[in-house]
């Protein structure tokens, strides 16, 4: 017989595996707890503080001078480059996780395969290194 659970927090006899959605139930409680805490604190500080807003007070801070232009201007492309490189490299790092956990069973053969994979990884790394993507001084 198949059971469908929307919210489940009890040992299910048919499931012998120790890692099922049941293990994540406390995380759901903690998330609800944390959201409630943050919401209440935000509400309390909104309610307690004085409200004497004037137009000048609500201006953005710009070291005491009047605001010039909009802050949301185009920024250095280097930040964008770092973000793109991070996505590429982080995906490669993610592949190492399952390897590292099963690394003893895979032995030398698996090690050589990962060595090759990292070889490609390093080739890309060397390329962006030489291209100057990681240089912050112009």
């Amino acid at each position: 017989m198949i059971h469908y659970f929307i919210l489940q927090a009890g040992p299910v006899s048919s499931v012998s595996d120790t890692n099922n959605s049941f293990n994540y139930f406390p995380i759901a409680i903690q998330l609800i707890f944390a959201i409630a805490f943050v919401a209440i604190m935000m509400g309390v500080t909104h309610w307690l503080g004085p409200k004497r807003a004037t137009e000048e007070k609500l201006e953005n801070f710009e070291s005491g001078i009047e605001i010039r232009g909009n802050a949301r201007q185009p920024m250095a492309v280097k930040y964008f480059l770092v973000a793109i490189l991070f996505v590429l490299f982080d995906v490669e790092v993610i592949f190492f996780y399952p390897y590292a956990v099963n690394f003893r069973e895979l032995g030398w053969e698996g090690f050589m395969a990962v060595l090759m994979f990292v070889g490609f990884f390093l080739a890309g790394f060397y390329y962006i290194f030489k291209k100057g993507a990681l240089n912050w001084e112009d």
Binding site: A9, Q30, A34, F37, V44, N60
Partner: protein, 349 residues
């Protein structure tokens, strides 16, 4: 179809544990602000806060109440919803990471055996990484929504710094996973029970992890997102009242949690050095173990503060060079030396 199949005692037990852990984290974060000022005073040969209560012990309470009673300012040019969402997310992610940390072994109460860990999931450390990397949204959303030039620069710096150091942190962790063969923090701590702490096998990995933890928590020498003398207050320039408090508290909670993670990964977690816990009663062993873990975390927090008042801030290009050109190749090298060493040793057996 079952909609609610809940063991209510189990849920209650977890709820109490969550309340205790989160309250504990908040109190420790509060007193970290006090400790930071006292440590700074000690290092700079001053007295530090000593007016509110004996030795100034009520200072964090006074600071917290002050933040509650301050006027809440939402700048007229800002994006109002995101402006509130930013600090909320920062605090939320800081509060979520404590879910998978094992605070002690089991205690027995009312005939029930209770784990001192909120959730024992087999991806433990990956969960911590996932939640920590969500923290960058809190900074970035707060910075962008303020519509302030200093904030935006601070937020950009913070985001690219955190993602850069996450790579080296991930790779240094992989070398540790090769040693332990599991992602669950509980199992890692259990493996270290007999005095063979992972720091012995992974000294370089630990050093890389520690440096990256400083960068992830935006602590000096990596506090460029809020570099006072160039960016006023960085990403939280426009914040006031408890919204500012959330950003500050989130930083201290993150510091506490990263101390706990490092203690579990490299320093035996709740293992008490030179004591055989199996000789003690179950509850005594659990409580002493939790105290041992908190002492280790306290030492890490002290290290964070000691470094802050000793080493000056990096320049931005130095920060990026250290992250990308030094730490990533070094952690890859560490990973391969570890792998080859373990395989060579297991073959010679």
């Amino acid at each position: 179809m079952t909609i609610l199949n809940i063991d209510w005692f189990f849920a209650l037990e977890k709820l109490i544990l969550i309340a205790v852990v989160i309250t504990g984290a908040l109190v420790i974060a509060m007193y970290s602000t006090y400790a930071e000022r006292k440590v700074a005073a000690f290092i700079q040969d001053r007295r530090g806060p000593n007016r509110a209560g004996p030795f100034g012990l009520f200072q964090p309470l006074a600071d917290g109440l002050k933040l509650f009673f301050k006027e809440e300012i939402i700048p007229s040019h800002s994006n109002k919803v995101l402006f509130v969402l930013g600090p909320s997310l920062a605090m939320l992610t800081a509060m979520m990471t404590s879910a998978v940390i094992p605070w002690g072994s089991k205690v027995e109460l009312f005939g029930r055996s209770i784990d001192l860990q909120i959730a024992d999931i087999n991806i433990g450390i990956l969960f911590v990484f996932g939640v920590v990397s969500l923290g960058v949204y809190g900074i970035l959303i707060g910075a962008w929504s303020s519509n302030n030039k200093f904030s935006l620069l601070g937020g950009l710096r913070g985001a690219s710094q955190i993602i850069s150091y996450e790579l080296a942190m991930g790779i240094s962790l992989i070398a540790l996973l090769m040693v332990t063969g599991t992602l669950s923090l509980k199992e890692m701590v259990e493996q270290q029970r007999h005095g063979h702490w992972n720091i012995i096998h992974q000294p370089l990995g630990f050093l890389i992890f520690l440096i990256c933890a400083f960068a992830e928590c935006n602590r000096t020498p990596f506090d460029l997102p809020e570099a006072e003398n160039e960016l006023n207050c960085g990403y939280h320039s426009e914040y006031s009242s408890m919204k500012l408090g959330f950003y500050l508290f989130a930083e201290y909670i993150n510091m506490f949690i990263s101390g706990a993670v490092m203690a579990c990964l490299y320093f035996g977690g709740y293992d008490i050095p030179f004591v055989d816990e199996s000789a003690l009663a179950v509850n005594t062993a659990a409580i002493l173990g939790a105290v041992a873990l908190l002492v280790k975390v306290g030492l890490f927090i002290f290290l964070f503060m000691w470094v802050r008042w000793t080493i000056p801030r990096f320049r931005y290009d130095q920060l990026m060079r250290l992250g990308w050109k030094n730490l990533i190749p070094l952690s890859l090298l560490n990973m391969f030396v570890t792998g080859a060493w373990i395989l060579w040793k297991s073959k010679s057996h």
